[in-house]
């Protein structure tokens, strides 16, 4: 069984690596952010599998923390003061 857990965890890690292409490509900031969100879900799955494979359920606590916190970065992203709009006006003043 342990072999299966590890094999699945390995494949999931690979999907994160492949998904990184979306972060690199973009094209918009929103695309990048949404890819990071997908990694959160995958990481939770990997941690649950690793916890089961090593029979160390303390690892599940790490998964629980990710589950609780993955929304925070994305929520900040949508709620932050829009830098593009503020820089547009600032930019005309201090263009060098």
């Amino acid at each position: 069984m342990t072999g299966l857990y590890l094999a699945l965890a390995l494949i999931l890690l690979l999907t994160i690596c492949v998904g990184m292409v979306r972060v690199l490509r973009g094209p918009t900031a929103t695309d990048r952010m949404l890819a990071a969100q997908l990694f959160g879900t995958t990481a939770v799955a990997i941690l649950l599998l690793l916890g089961q494979a090593t029979e160390n359920t303390a690892i599940w606590d790490v998964a629980l923390i990710f589950a609780l916190l993955t929304a925070i970065a994305a929520a900040t992203f949508v709620r932050r003061r829009d830098i593009d709009k503020t820089t547009e006006t600032e930019d005309q003043n201090d263009r060098h």
Partner: protein, 328 residues
């Protein structure tokens, strides 16, 4: 099965190093921030693979809960610097090739060579592990990491609290805090999430603090989680009471260091070395320090994200109508 573990570790290491390179070399700062969030995620995986679940918990709480917000808010302050990416420099073929070669060939091969070499090494000594485990009975806790952090090497932890406080004081001396987010009310969905997750975050954080006595967990993990909770509350549209910005905030931020110093002084007066707890009180003292430190760490980390002196927030908010965007 060993091969599966090896393959997992290899890919994890290669990805971590490549990500580190990519995010440092990224000209688009927003991209760098998202890469850093992904980096933190994989780093937490790496810590669990190294058997350091304590560190993984802290990395998960800090990486997912605080760093992302800290960097995104910081990015807003770097407005004009971020404009630089829109004036692309002409790149030669060679310049474009270098990162690809680095990430595709050099980093993986160096990692593989290093890993293979490392596997040849014999572990000569397990460090102080035996010593710590033999003294665990008198430490006042059942988790070796907690025993080291709060008893055997409590001095280090005291100084760490000092460093955190110093960092906050430096941030406060640099700038005045500005409202982190849009003044307009958040989406009801975000509000609902915040209301639902906040109590759960509090309880998980308390559970982590308690677990520190016998399993991975402890004050830093609990504090980091709690500070993420504070951020989530602000994101969900709650505002902190301005009455708290003055003395209460300072006291809460400083109490972690203060309790340490008080206990050090008390042990000194009792004729022991500083922070050399009497054996029968060790458990209670450790618990007391951890509870106070949790609150202190939570407040310091959350205040650090605000990025400036908080007293000013109440002043500017009172002066200006909430609808205006004009603090910058």
């Amino acid at each position: 099965m060993i091969d599966l573990v090896l393959a997992f570790d290899l890919i994890l290491m290669t990805t971590l190093i490549s990500l580190a390179w990519l995010l440092l070399a990224s000209r688009d700062l927003f991209r760098a921030v998202v890469l850093f969030i992904a980096f933190g995620l994989l780093l937490a995986l790496a810590w669990t693979r190294l058997g350091a679940v304590d560190v993984a918990l802290a990395e998960a709480a800090i990486g997912a809960g605080i760093t992302g917000t800290l960097l995104l808010v910081g990015l807003g302050k770097l407005g004009s610097a971020e404009r630089c990416r829109r004036t692309p420099r002409p790149t030669t073929f060679l310049q474009r090739l270098t990162p690809a070669v680095l990430i595709g060939i050099i980093i993986p091969s160096v990692t593989i060579i290093l890993l293979l070499e490392l596997r040849q090494l014999q572990i000569v000594s397990s460090g102080q592990q035996g010593l710590v485990l033999s003294l665990l009975d008198i430490s006042g806790t059942d988790h070796p990491v907690t025993a080291v952090l709060l008893n055997f090497r409590a001095w280090d932890t005291l100084l760490e609290k000092g460093v955190l406080l110093l960092a906050l004081v430096s941030i406060w001396s640099l700038d005045q805090a500005r409202p982190l987010f849009h003044q307009e009310a958040p989406s009801p969905v975000l509000k609902g999430l915040s209301q639902l997750y906040l109590p759960i975050l509090v309880i998980v954080s308390g559970a982590l603090l308690w677990q520190g006595g016998y399993a991975p967990g402890g004050a830093f993990q609990a504090g980091a989680l709690l500070s993420a909770g504070i951020l989530l509350a602000i994101l969900g549209g709650r505002s902190l009471l301005p009455a708290w910005y003055g003395m209460p905030l300072r006291l809460l931020a400083g109490c972690g260091l203060l309790i340490f110093i008080l206990i050090a002084a008390a042990t000194l007066l009792a004729g022991n070395l500083p922070l050399q707890y009497p054996q029968e009180l060790a458990g209670a003292l450790i618990l007391l320090i951890e509870i106070v430190a949790t609150v202190s760490i939570a407040v310091i980390l959350a205040a650090a994200v605000a990025g400036g002196h908080p007293a000013e927030i109440s002043a500017t908010e009172q002066q200006q109508p909430p609808s205006s965007e004009g603090t910058s």
